[in-house]
Symmetry: C2
Subunit: 362 residues, 2 copies
């Protein structure tokens, strides 16, 4: 019976191309590419082949982030240009040969000063629709147009920038329930550098009003690997119950009286709670993770209060395990409903291409 | 004339030993060793040969910190014991052979779990006099006694520990003007891990009431070397005027409205002020230094206010350049008089030996 199913499937793929070769107007093939969407960051390149409704037909993840290219640090512009061409070819050259003329959009550090083409930042506050209306264009050696998404800058006393996250924000807003269209939304993008984006909505108008950056992920890595705090740590495969308690203990430090000392001081307790036998090696790692995320969320909360903002909805985008950690800390700090949004990047790239008029037949 | 002076001086050193070789009771030779004092930390070992009044007759700095010893990370206890013996011999073996029976005192990480002998912590709050009355003793392979200074622990929600700084605190208090004996003193020990120690005085009684640790120095090193913040930095030989302005700019962030975001967030501006052309490579380094020290001082100030403490005197101990940076930031944050105290370690070791009764003929 199993063999029979296999046979039928094989037969299907053989027969289908024949059926559609008629003179009738051809409906879009279910696997026809409508958009090639690239999420091209510092350390990786993800290429999405998207279908008629923006659904992912195929996904490729390549270790070709802009800082991973062979000539990335060389200062040799021609060599770097060739690297970008080669990575692009590897990511989607065959897709374009199979369906020439498919539009291509790319977001992330590929549009930075160290990228393929520097795309100027757009200034925040900004109407979210304007992002898709402001793509830059690059033509590769085969004449293929590549549309680049601009990053965002907020020129305050301490300027803030993002490249790539603006696309995820667009994807999140696309996934939002339209019934709650009058409320403020807070979008959190935890990662190496967490971004917290404040969205104000009035009807269908969405304004990206303000955003903050926290280097929590990168600070955790640097402290764990390159300071005395890492000396007593052990990385475990799974988080045990004790580890979970250590994480919670750390998360609550920032809102305790002792947390007033600030993160430069409280992190030292990772070591002293080890010295005094309270935390084991795995516990110290979990504790520091909770402690840093707790300081991030406490500071975010203080700023929102200062601004008189109380977001009714918090949306998170990121790696699942990390989103679970942030969800837990947000709840401990009495944030309201927290929702994790999947596929924000591909949704965002699709929506931006739509706004930009790249999907003429969609 | 210059030659004449030289001649007289040489003659003096030749004649003096002869003069004192009489049958009269001999006053102490000016170069006689009264105490061998070791400041034995994680990365270095400093050995002081101290004279009749605690003055330094000779100083040796050796790269023999407890984590620098060959067997430090081996887990081989016998090999580590041999390393400690060898380092001790190198530091002061000849001094002891020249003047057998000279008392030896040592402070710092040599008394930690990874040290030569683990000396239990004393608990804070503590009368400062009790430290010298609580030395532990170790006998080396030649039968020489080595008196080890205990570290301090404060068992609060986030425990705090120090080893070595308690000795510097004793040295600072020894240098204090006795006319102001009723006032609170705040002692700052900037370094890899800054300590801020609160001293309450009532007459000759000094209580070490509370202390905080900030990992500012180590965090600065980790961020500059192992995160994206270092990518745009350049280390300069000297701090230029522009660098000085960048330092000041960073120092004031913590007390600005933007500083409320906390250090995990504000550090990112080191990069964005580079991206936007405000700071050059050397400026980014100075800015981050000022920013971190500013966050430390702002948090310290908030805690002191919370505790209702306003120290009338701030004393600093540490490397001169670093003390100058801290002095500048303390002034920007409206702390009162700031005094930098030199030779706190050797003064402290001398005072502790005195309290411990090791200097019977002093």
């Amino acid at each position: 019976m199993a063999a029979g199913i296999k046979y039928a499937t094989s037969l299907g793929t053989l027969i289908l191309p024949v059926i559609f070769k008629t003179n009738q107007p051809m409906p879009p093939a279910p696997h026809q590419t409508h958009l090639i969407a690239l999420d091209w960051g510092t350390s990786s390149l993800r290429a999405y082949r998207l279908g008629a409704h923006g659904q992912t037909l195929e996904l490729r993840a390549l270790p070709c982030g802009i800082m991973q290219l062979p000539a990335a640090a060389s200062g040799d512009k021609a060599a770097l240009e060739a690297d970008f061409e080669a990575a692009f070819e590897q990511a989607c050259g065959d897709w374009l040969r199979a369906e020439p003329g498919t539009p291509v959009i790319a977001a992330g550090m590929v549009g930075s000063r160290q990228g393929w083409l520097e795309v100027p930042y757009l200034e925040v506050p900004i109407a979210v629709d304007r992002i898709g209306g402001s793509l830059s264009v690059l033509r590769n050696r085969h004449g293929q147009l590549i549309h680049l998404v601009p990053g965002l800058i907020e020129n305050s006393m301490l300027p803030n920038v993002m490249r790539g996250e603006e696309t995820q924000v667009v994807g999140v807003l696309n996934a939002l329930n339209q019934d709650t269209a009058e409320t403020d939304v807070l979008i959190g993008l935890p990662g190496t550098h967490s971004k917290w984006v404040q969205i104000r909505r009035a009807g269908k108008q969405c304004q990206l009003a303000h955003f903050d950056t926290f280097m929590t992920g990168e600070v955790f890595a640097a402290l764990s690997t390159h300071t005395i705090l890492g000396r007593g740590m052990q990385a475990g495969d799974d988080v045990t119950e004790a580890g979970q308690h250590a994480f919670e203990r750390g998360a609550l430090v920032a809102r305790s009286a002792a947390g007033q000392a600030g993160v430069l001081s409280t992190i030292f307790s990772t070591r002293t709670l080890g010295l005094t036998g309270v935390l084991d090696g795995a516990g110290q790692r979990e504790y520091l993770s909770g402690l840093l995320i707790g300081h991030e969320i406490a500071a975010l909360q203080a700023m929102l209060r200062e601004q008189g903002r109380q977001p009714s909805q918090v949306m998170l985008v990121g790696e699942a395990g990390l989103c679970a950690r942030y969800t837990q800390v947000l709840r401990a700090y009495d944030f309201g409903a927290v929702e994790v949004v999947a596929e924000a990047t591909e949704r965002g790239l699709w929506q931006l291409a739509l706004t930009a008029g790249l999907l003429k037949h969609a």
